[in-house]
Symmetry: C2
Subunit: 331 residues, 2 copies
């Protein structure tokens, strides 16, 4: 095998010491132009590329970030991930990805593993870990950006979407259409439940009727939405509209309505959340609330890179991203 070249090989080839090669490449100390040329030439000839492992061990910087999300196969995340990757790529970072399925134990394991790998920063789409718990795991100094995190003491930078704005718009819209009875299909129990809470607040403010029985918890999937709606819609009295914690659930709800011969939106209005690409493609087209995935990823990149240069002492910042109702056909 061709052993990958080490700095000593380059030094020998150029007739200098490893130190000088390092200086020539990093520019941390001046090197005579002629010498530098010889070194660069040798680097070229030997196709030398420094071992990042060794460099990282010495410098204590890995140029690697972590992206911790519930499930990359959930269509909301890829768009966000792409924007993040693009954003940090320019700064020379690569990104490790871990899926947690929203499980607190999975989140803990992923965090620990990332810390052991000495990543320079973490972006975490958190469902089940508070920023305080998170700090207990990763220590106080590691740059972390949490997306849509749990409430409580904030101990990281934060990117949140103003869910309540879009949800409020949606509820008001339904109210204006004469809807009085409302249901909500949320994600699994213990997922943070911002959206449920925001929904309840908005519904309450307008005096709408939300029976306890019309609130369901289910996985963030199409199948989850289907199952929840099948059981929810089975009661003798059912809501005139169902709002959902994400679009996949909403699509599942529409599946259920179709299966039960319930017309959308005449008999049942359905509103999703996230505005994934598919939302505009289903029939009827899904009325939903935008959750700017790509903007979220880009914002995470920005915040994280900033934090990395600023260090842990600068005050935590929170960025709030807008959401809004997108009217289509399902409501």
């Amino acid at each position: 095998m061709v052993p990958s070249r080490r700095i000593a090989d380059v030094a020998a080839e150029a007739g200098v010491s490893p130190t000088t090669v390092s200086h020539a490449l990093s520019g941390r100390r001046p090197v005579a132009p002629a010498t530098r040329a010889r070194i660069l030439n040798a680097v070229e000839r030997l196709d030398y590329r420094p071992d990042r492992l060794a460099t990282s061990l010495r410098t204590q910087r890995t140029q690697t970030l972590a992206l911790i999300i519930p499930d990359i196969a959930n269509p909301y995340y890829p768009a966000s991930a792409r924007a993040l990757l693009d954003g940090v790529n320019d700064a020379g970072f690569m990104t490790l990805i871990a899926n947690t399925d929203g499980d607190p134990e999975g989140e803990r394991a992923a965090l620990q593993e990332m810390v052991a790998r000495r990543v320079d920063g973490i972006v975490m789409h958190s469902l089940a870990t508070s920023t305080a718990d998170l700090r207990r795991i990763v220590g106080p100094d590691l740059p972390v950006v949490v997306v849509g995190g749990l409430s409580g003491l904030i101990a990281t930078d934060l990117v949140v979407t103003a869910d309540s704005v879009g949800l409020g718009e949606a509820v008001k819209y339904l109210h204006g259409n004469g809807v009085r009875d409302l249901g909500f299909v949320d994600g699994p129990e213990g997922n943070g439940m911002y959206r449920l809470v925001a929904f309840l607040g908005a519904a309450h403010a307008l005096g709408l009727n939300v029976q306890d029985d019309w609130i369901r918890h289910t996985p963030f999937t199409r199948e989850g939405g289907f199952a929840a709606a099948m059981s929810l819609l089975h009661g003798d009295r059912r809501p005139a509209a169902i709002m959902c914690a994400n679009d996949l659930i909403a699509i599942g709800v529409m599946d259920a309505a179709r299966a039960l011969n319930i017309r959308i939106p005449e008999d049942l209005a359905v509103i999703g959340f996230d505005d994934i690409e598919t939302a505009a493609l289903v029939t009827p087209q899904l009325t939903t609330i935008t959750n700017p995935a790509s903007l979220t990823g880009a914002t995470c990149a920005e915040l994280l890179l900033e934090r990395i240069v600023l260090g842990a002492d600068a005050p935590y910042v929170t960025r709030v991203l807008p959401t809004s109702l997108v009217l289509r056909e399902s409501a």
Copy 2:
């Protein structure tokens, strides 16, 4: 700040030498049970977790893999990525992700960066790099699995989908429906073009008419499909069916047909490729060819892990995954 504990701290706490701690944790040499207990206790108390950087530098194994894909935001890849991540996670691997946009230069850069980071293996969804070129970049010994790679001398393990089977089925199906004039919207020029080639082969075998003008190259996106179809369908004579290199393009083609008031499937049949989740949700539902994303990811995981234990000497293996036509409404 709380400095993360080092092995020396544990050794001191347990009253032994770092060597003994290492042996106790790795089991590479026997350690007295009493001593081991003291050490494990100290590890626990100090919450010690070995620095993977240092370990990797010494052992020359990083427990890290690379996933190199054109675009994680393209809905085909997340499902595959998820299966891969799950498959290797159990073996203790984390995964670095890089997007290339199908660009040869991007692929080169990603490969080099991964090599510099000393990953233990690479999964590459390659569009523009031959396995021979790839070996030139990563060296002969690094485990690599290529998905749907370029032809030529094979110098890596390979996972390919039997595109020609599904495409053949589809062409035969159209032929049986009386279709004689066929178009194909492929991905960007220089993307490997297996699918185009397989399509042409099948169409030729049945004596179908494929005008040069009915073959287009466009990005693998909905917008790309739209643009290509708008121009393709503008000619005074147009094909009775258009097949596409992936579902996103097909959806874009349907957008264009709608915009031009061309009925699907009566006036124009459209067939996609990949069977992404959205395909069943659009209107009309997209007839397409399955490309088992999740199975692909799982197979990559399997092959890569195998290769890592086998080493570079074992002969390269190729796995062929099935594809087949899924009849829906668009053709």
